[in-house]
Amino acid sequence: MDATLSIIILLVMVLGAVQVALTLYARNVVAAAAHEGARAAIELGRNPHDALVVARSSVERSAGGLVDRMRVTMSLDSTGARSVVQVRVTGLLNSPGPVPLKFPVSSVATSSRQKAPE
């Protein structure tokens, strides 16, 4: 009886640690995906709408399976000599661990580029 309960408690602790590790890793993957989206948007977007489509597509390809109800928003600031794109990814993180929990995640990434001469 004692052995059974002990094994169950140990199993819960080990699975919890695995869950925490995978959740932290997934959060970092979403942050990296947001950054890739921002870079793709600033390089490949011909106009703000196109840039948003590019950013959304890039983020979905990189981290789409990890985030439920994913929302990708983009802001473009083109004052001065540089264009700056900021991509924000929000949603519910599907923790890839043994317990199917969801955690809210929000990540921001910024990328800039020298404006092309007029």
Binding site: M13, A17, L24, R82, S112
Partner: protein, 140 residues
């Protein structure tokens, strides 16, 4: 007299489990921070390389590198002032040249999820990026 020790194994398991769990969670926190810092450093080096390679002069490139590194670390929720940045441009910023950016960031080992980081030993993560200056760009 017979000693009754039923239930002791559970108490021992919980106590020793918690004793093992605390350093495990600490290690996970440090590893996650290392991963995050590595991502931020590589992003910073890449962005800084792109921006410096597109700059029209050394002063402009220096400013672009600083801004790119600050943005990349701030996006990941890290302190940009702790980052060490070295960059160089082979023979100035001429067409077809190269810009090399190296970013290093210290990750404090003495940290806990709620307490934050304390002064102590650090692990440095490094990222290096070489960007080529467009050989056909219109600005020199």
């Amino acid at each position: 007299m017979r000693k009754r020790d039923g239930g002791m194994a559970i108490i021992e398991t919980i106590l020793f489990g918690l004793l093992l769990l605390v350093p495990l969670m600490w290690a996970l926190g440090v590893l996650a921070d290392l991963h995050r810092s590595a991502l931020a450093s590589s992003s910073a080096a890449r962005e800084a390389g792109f921006d410096a390679a597109a700059s029209i002069g050394l002063a402009d490139a220096t400013r672009a590198v600083d801004e790119a590194v600050t943005r990349a670390f701030a996006d990941q929720g890290l302190d940009p002032s702790r980052a060490r940045v070295d960059w160089s441009a082979s023979s100035g910023l001429v067409r077809g040249g190269e810009v090399e950016v190296e970013v290093s960031y210290p990750v404090s080992v003495a940290q806990a999820p709620i307490l934050g980081s304390l002064a102590g030993p650090s692990i440095w993560v490094n990222a290096r990026h070489v960007a080529r200056i467009d050989p056909f760009r219109s600005l020199e």
